[in-house]
Symmetry: C2
Subunit: 387 residues, 2 copies
């Protein structure tokens, strides 16, 4: 197995991108990544594309071939990965495997979602496809409703409060204000969150990540040749993925995401690190409760202790551990298929020291954490600056 | 890179499976493959699932996690691959790469589609997502219409006749009569085909593959340990994939599928074979013209010569080369995501000598060919009996 590095990254602005369709978004992020990597289209050998529900949002399946076509990757293998909201992270991992195996040298991985052409009802219905259609959604629960069940149980078992959940949103929107690619550039107070409209009790609209358009891309290469392309390769030192039951009712507990525990443990073991070594962390905060679960399930806090720590400011920028410096799904936006790749872009920028106003001082090791559905898929990557 | 073998296969009956949903179909094929491979669920290390449009057909994305859940693959990585009608073949290739790389030993690959819950208009619209939504489908052409353009141009350039195209359907329905898993068990004459309803001129309903439910699965392992599980491992000696422009209008020619030419050449080179060495061949006959293109693009016939050869009976069972012994997409059915895996199941059965009434005598080398859309993806595998 070969060592794998990220040698280039690209991102579009996330948000309501009325002027751009799926193909324009992909091209924008992909071309930026190629330029950043000093790689020409013709040299890319395989491409992976992560998209969740392009079929339902805009009628377009077969998105990886479109991605290859748009970026001028003539006739190379193109593979779409769909693992709900973890489509991007899963695509990154397949790209990592393609390089690690020795089969391919230059690999492009993109993630994209064009969501705002759908009505909000259509979008919510499409996103419900991430959960168990037969056993959950068709019974009437919405996707936010699944996370609301998890939040309510977490409050019951651990005394987690709505104020603590709101503190996740406040922090992530603060960080988003420092990120020009973020969908929102507006600060919120705890009281703003708590007074926003209820979506699925106890989750309010400002506890939920938004509907977004956007794309993200990375270029991967073997570490041994990475310096040919960039002075600052980012070494992927751990890559792991796990699954769980699609439906919540089949799980022993709904106050943890078991797939995250397994994936994080595996990735940290590969990377030979413990949670204490991590300086910067992008976690899957599709809802505020999800960030609390992630911080516990990856071992940064004991179960039931993350919410208070976040409320106490331990995860704000340049505090104990800087979490969701990009703004997270909450503030940066959540174009579903793009999210897992955007996390890798953000960690790359942080480890390169190129994160500007939101730079984490002395960031050496970063982690990305991307969840599909209510936790049936979880993907964790560990990255390190390579000097 | 390690050698990879198929150690077990499973299939459901294809057709209108009113009594079974997506999860039941996956479980049926997957459990059959595990039993055939003498492998227990708990020993499978990663699973790939190919599905094209489960989101649009039944509202369910995130299908690989569901597949893992249904088959008791507790907490392993589960990855859905979507490459339109080549989703199955693409998933097989990712599974192949996972074993070849040395990262995983026991890999399950499944393909599934549950199509008959949709109305025929919904199904046709969803299948249109395989082509270029913005530049083709939204302009009013249907997916059969794209192949009709290719057929009409092939007729114009090479004198291909509707009778010759019909002979593909006659042959494949004949083969399907010998396959208990096939959707149709009815023989047709040339005149039946030519008198059937026009779908997109010159293609008639009996030139088109049907709407089907079904699933297929294979278990992969390193060749070096394959004999622990089965006396008849099937060695995958070539695995290749290529892409092309999503839309027909961007191509130099529409009388060939360039992605097939590239993928076949690459796979045959890896396998160190020429087309003359192939005894049994499953090709992507989504429409009758597609089988003619495939036979030319893979080098079995010169451009413009396949149609007459098929009409002359050179590709019927146990003739010069036995093509689509399963019945093909045309006669066996085309549950989109399952098709590429079903092709591998059929070739495995043929190379094992277990194809019953439709056994190709002395089959040593087999090929599968799976196309996405109107040719933006093509996947070719070469397989050999391992003694």
């Amino acid at each position: 197995m070969r060592d794998v590095a990220i040698i280039g990254v690209g991102l579009t602005k996330f948000g309501e991108r009325w002027e751009s369709g799926l193909r324009e978004l992909m091209a924008e992020a992909g071309l930026a990544a190629l330029e950043d990597a000093n790689v020409e289209s013709k040299d890319v050998e395989i491409v992976y594309g992560g998209t969740m529900a392009s079929g339902r949002f805009i009628g377009q399946e077969h998105v990886a071939a479109l991605l290859a076509d748009q970026l001028g990757f003539k006739n190379i293998p193109a593979v779409r990965i769909e693992n709900a909201c973890a489509s991007g992270g899963s695509a990154l991992r397949q790209g990592y495997m393609a390089v690690a195996s020795g089969m391919y040298n230059l690999v492009a991985v993109g993630g994209v979602e064009k969501m705002t052409d759908a009505t909000s009802t259509e979008a919510t219905t499409a996103l419900g496809g991430a959960g168990d259609q037969e056993w959950e959604l068709s019974q009437g629960i919405t996707f936010p409703g699944l996370y609301a069940l998890m939040a309510r149980r977490h409050m019951y078992e651990y005394g987690t409060t709505v104020e603590q959940m709101a503190s996740v949103a406040v922090k992530n929107h603060d960080n988003a204000c420092k990120n020009k690619y973020a969908q929102f550039h507006k600060k919120f107070t705890i009281s703003d969150i708590l007074n926003s409209k209820v979506v699925a009790d106890p989750l309010r609209i400002l506890d939920c990540s938004p509907i977004s358009d956007g794309a993200a891309a990375v270029i991967l290469a073997p570490l041994e040749i990475a310096k040919k392309y960039t002075d600052t390769p980012i070494h992927i030192i751990g890559s792991a993925q796990a699954s769980d039951t699609l439906g919540l009712s089949d799980r022993d507990k709904i106050t943890e995401i078991k797939a995250t525990k397994i994936a994080a443990e595996d990735a940290f073991r590969q990377a030979k690190i413990s949670s204490k070594d991590v300086n910067v962390l992008e976690v899957h905060d599709c809802f505020t409760i999800a960030e609390i679960l992630a911080m516990e399930d990856m071992g940064f806090y004991k179960k039931g202790q993350a919410a208070k720590a976040i409320e106490d400011g331990e995860t704000t920028l340049n505090s104990k551990i800087s979490v969701n410096t990009s703004g997270g799904l909450k503030g940066c936006g959540h174009p579903v298929g793009a999210t897992g790749i955007k996390q890798a872009v953000e960690v790359t920028l942080q480890l390169r020291g190129e994160a500007g106003e939101r730079q984490v001082n002395g960031a050496e090791i970063g982690v990305t954490h991307n969840v599909g559905g209510s936790g049936a898929t979880s993907v964790v990557h560990v990255m390190k600056r390579h000097n």
